[in-house]
């Protein structure tokens, strides 16, 4: 048999797999969609942010940094700071609730793992607005939870709704799955034999967690934390509904400038400035995400 002569053609498909030759133009529809509906609005936002106002709701297209200068006001710096503090609080609460859940699912569930995963995502199938309104009923000072808390004697005044606590609870609740899933994924990929080895060598369970589990799942945790922190910063509905409109998030102020004052240039400048600020966190996210890629697989 001429086995020797067949070998060379066999090698060529392997080489091809290194440089896939699918036609690049097939991505054109996606790229066009992306350019029109994502980059387009962004470009409009940038144009507005350097424009100036000319009477009611109309804009004169100039190049002016006056909107950004107006942002450099203690008031708006305070709004930025408050927003990020609230989002940080919400993220901390999300981690406190989400990490143990992910840990439990990955470590102790075997048969019902898929079901548990499904239950984590199920709330996402309901409208965000309805879930937030439902939370309002639960947190109501005359609701069942309030009666229960007062009955147990933990507190005789259950006053959570329309406070920062309610906003933090709402943020944590709505973004929880976005944290649980990446943490769960990194826990799934972890080799539990390392923890066994550590305990065999005399480490306490807590020490083993601190020295092995936590560092190995940290990239997933940071990915999840940023995945919830960034959208929390742009939150508009939750502070309005659960905070009773008395918390000015960046999103709230952008909204009142765009709609109430019809001040599109200032609203755009605020959106761009906040986007730049959040980009710093996105850079951290990308750094960790690539690190996790190197680790995980």
């Amino acid at each position: 048999m001429a086995t020797e002569t067949i070998q060379p053609p066999k090698r060529s498909p392997r080489r091809r797999s290194f440089a896939p030759r699918y036609p690049g133009w097939l991505t054109a529809p996606s790229l066009i969609y992306y350019m029109i509906f994502f980059l387009g609005p962004l470009a409009i936002l940038v144009v507005f942010s350097v424009a100036t106002q000319a009477g009611f709701g109309s804009v004169s297209y100039t190049f002016s940094t006056s909107q950004f200068q107006a942002l450099n006001d203690p008031l708006y710096i305070k709004v930025f700071r408050q927003t990020m503090l609230m989002a940080a609080g919400g993220t901390a609460l999300t981690i406190a609730i989400g990490y143990p859940v992910a840990y439990w699912m990955s470590r102790y569930l075997t048969r019902y793992k898929t079901l548990a995963l499904l239950l984590v995502i199920v709330p996402f199938w309901t409208s965000f607005l309805i879930r937030t309104y439902a939370l309002k009923i639960i947190l109501d000072p005359q609701g069942y939870l309030a009666h229960f808390v007062e009955w147990t004697g933990i507190s005789n005044q259950f006053n959570v709704l329309y406070t920062g606590k309610a906003v933090a609870i709402g943020l944590a609740y709505n973004y929880l799955p976005l944290l649980i899933l990446p943490v769960y994924a990194s826990l799934e990929r972890m080799d539990w034999k390392l923890v066994e080895a550590a305990t065999d060598l005399g480490a306490s369970p807590f020490k083993a967690f601190r020295q092995i589990t936590l560092p190995l799942t940290l990239p997933g945790l940071i990915t999840g934390a940023l995945l919830v922190f960034i959208p929390m910063c742009g939150e508009y509905v939750i502070p309005q509904l659960l905070g009773g409109g008395q918390f000015a998030f960046v999103g709230t102020v952008i909204g009142s400038n765009f709609l109430g004052a019809q001040n599109w240039p200032f609203g755009s400048a605020m959106a761009i400035a906040f986007m730049v600020l959040l980009s710093i966190f996105v850079v951290i996210y990308i750094a960790f995400a690539t690190r996790e890629e190197q680790f995980g697989a």
């Binding site: 009611f56 709701g57 008031l75 009773g244 008395q246 102020v253 009142s256 109430g260 200032f266």
Partner: protein
Amino acid sequence: MTERDPELKILAPIETRPRLDRLERLVRRSGGGRMTRAEALGLGGLALLAAAGCGGKTSTGGGGGGASSSGATDPLAGKPMESNLVIYNWSQYDDPSTYKSFKTQNHVAIKETYYSSNDELLAKLQAGGTGYDIIVPSQNAVGELVQLGSLMKLDKALIPNASGVESSWVKTAYDPTGDYKVVKDFGVTMFFYNNKIVTEKPTTMKQFYDLLPKYGKVGRTNLMDGAEEVVPLALMALGLDPNTGDSADLDKAKNFLLSIRNGVTTIDSSNYINDASAGKIILGQGWNGDVRRIVSARKKQGDITAVLPQDTSEKWADNWCIPATAPDPVAAHAWINHLCDPTVAVKEMEYHNYPIPIQAALDQTPAELKNDPLFNVPTSYTDHYKFILNPSQEIVNARTQIYTAFQSA
């Protein structure tokens, strides 16, 4: 052949339908007698052919009534009614029977779409939205639209029923000539408190604000939301002009608002009716129609006292206006005229529970409406109340900044 098909089948492009409809009405009106669509169009077609055949310049309008007397000054006089009417309105703001009676009287097809805030209306119009015949802006938006030249000067000859509107509501601060709007209905901003908890008897807006720090610790207090409510209402409580652009006055309002900030639990205009009806708000502002509902919901407990502020407060009005670009101006005028008909206005008031300033209609409303000061707010109050307007973009921006400071404090 006793029953003839009223639908006439003409082989013509669908675009020509409105023109044919107009022709039909025109011929019918000038003909005077009853005739079918087929006869009317046939006659009209013959007339057009004859006109074309003669090659003369014939005027197709003005055949009928004497409405064309003021022809030269008013471009709309004698023009035939269009077959469509497009209304852009707040949702559920007019009685369904109003639409029905208008359709049967005028043979006009009505199309209606809705908005939920003046901002939405203004944004739509500024983004080049045309095709609306009727819009219903509130007073501040009317002022803005007049400034922008976006409204059509109303032809009062086509709205004879508007003569019934009380004179104080014709020329208003936001429409000094009274040419651009007919008031649809109006209301005021007032406040209410739980009389089992709040023992002082506040009678003015200033007293209301001064009680906030004390009772904010006891229970929930509420202010109406939005820069255009919070800042001008505070200015009025301080005895200043709600529409001022004076920075010293605006600073005073800002400091006053910040001084009572810790007494404010919520800033909300959309959920407060339900919460207050459940007895959850002990001290709050509200619009009179809403407060009326809250008081009736708490009738059994009898713990809500509603107060029309003694000194001054806000009065607001929603208005019938026609955009300058309206494609069906004659039908739009006919609509406004229909709504000013006292019998229609009575039904409207029973439906939306806000007063229409037409005395003949107010007199016919049921006693429980007519005699309720929360519905029929006495002029002794409204005469001292002021409209909140958007005098300039700078003032609106200044208010928004104060509002942001208030919210984030």
